[in-house]
Symmetry: C2
DNA sequence: CAGTGGTCTAGACCACCTA
DNA sequence: AGGTGGTCTAGACCACTGC
């Protein structure tokens, strides 16, 4: 378990700029100081400032115009997520303007189904640990999440596991693994009986289903998650910066 | 109309590396040459090589391990899209292993509905040009796309417009506008009568609906598109690099 | 310990936009 | 013409990994 390491300078610059956009110091549609001015102000090189600005631009927070300047995106509030935080469900809920909370439904150990074994490169019957969680937007259930992790990867006693954590931290703390990338299938589906016991609303409606497979640094699958997403309440809207 | 400009050096490096990954020179799961070796080989600075590698890493093509090396992602073929090309429908179809083709259904001028006027910041009744197109995967219709653009933005005769182009090029060539960013809503829906006349399969099934709003450099909306997406045929699966 | 990727600097030149 | 962002260089030091 590592200590928190000091953030990089460009990350700190990024956070300061983000804060200024949020608090209105840099206001929507208006120009922010030039790269040279920012590098002077912070006492860092222009390259470092550019690293920070590139991250903000990738997330759609700012718009850069060669020969003219850098401007705050005035429409960013129309979106609930961007491509950097798509699978941070808490941020997704709060981006929709709700207060988020999580209820841990269960942590269970079960043998893998055939599909799970296929996805996770295991034999059917190998033991999996399932984290079933319910995400709320202002007291209203909106996402039903089921994440399955091979029991063989567990490095700490199952009792110690805090199911309320972000999946990244669950892996770091209890499995001593680092996630390298994730592949997600986005599908439409009819709401099933299981989700319907938790979600409000009529029975026959459609939902989004986000199937996520997490992979480690060695290209091997670490976890498989199925997320039922009530898109009648929660908008999944993404900002994409244009190349 | 600008001439094609010479690509940047880092872009050329990026393309060479991508080509080597595709043709197997750098094979899945294996290590590629270090940054210093690449900068020596191409005769460019290490920073330039890093720019190219950063793009490949963001798209999930490679995995970088500090203190160890850079490796080709062995699972990339499981995904049909990444966060850089999500709205390139042609690439999405081909990423699923199909041959893609586009049929232009109609180009029509119509007054804006109330919803369209709201999204595009117009008055209801203002004239819109609708491009209705059908995307095929191996002769099978999979995406029904309807893009609406305010007629007032058109700078060339409507007859000249080639509806088969990418939306980016339609804007550049006929509207003299540059897209700065896009906001997309992903929703589930029942297949409607209109889409069902084009898509094969049963009537009662669900589809994905991708509602895209394109914005210009001045933060004003340029176009609004509704894409009905047959996810029973076409998988929408994304690679996401982990931070 | 040697080699890798991660960060940062100081400076240069270019392409582009506005005036 | 002057200022902006876009690209590139040559060099430095650091953090991390595997041997």
């Amino acid at each position: 378990m590592n200590l928190i390491q000091t953030r990089s300078v460009s990350n700190q610059v990024d956070e300061i700029l983000l804060e200024r956009i949020r608090d209105g110091t840099y206001s929507p549609g208006n120009r922010i100081p030039s790269e040279s001015e920012l590098s002077d102000e912070f006492g860092v090189s222009r390259a470092t400032v550019r690293t920070a600005l590139a991250k903000l631009a990738a997330n759609g927070m700012i718009i850069r115009k060669q020969g003219n300047g850098t401007f705050v995106n005035a429409r960013i509030k129309d979106a609930s997520a961007h491509f950097g935080n798509l699978w941070d469900l808490v941020q997704l809920i709060e981006g929709n303007g709700y207060k988020s909370s999580i209820r841990l439904l269960s942590i269970e150990q079960k043998p893998a189904t055939e599909k799970e074994a296929l996805v996770l490169a295991l034999e059917p019957g190998d033991e999996l640990i399932h984290f079933r969680r319910l995400f709320y937007a202002d007291q209203r259930a909106v996402i039903l999440a089921d994440n399955a992790i091979p029991a063989i990867l567990l490095r700490e006693p199952l009792e110690k596991v805090d199911g309320g954590l972000h999946i990244r931290d669950i892996f770091k703390n209890y499995f001593h693994q680092k996630i390298a990338f994730a592949i997600t299938d986005i599908r439409s589906a009819m709401i099933d009986a299981d989700a319907h016991t938790y979600f409000e609303g009529e029975a026959g409606r459609t939902i989004l289903q986000l199937d996520v497979t997490f992979y480690g640094m060695n290209n091997l699958p670490l976890a498989y998650g199925v997320n039922d997403f009530d898109d009648s309440i929660l908008r999944l809207s993404l900002v994409q910066a244009w190349s």
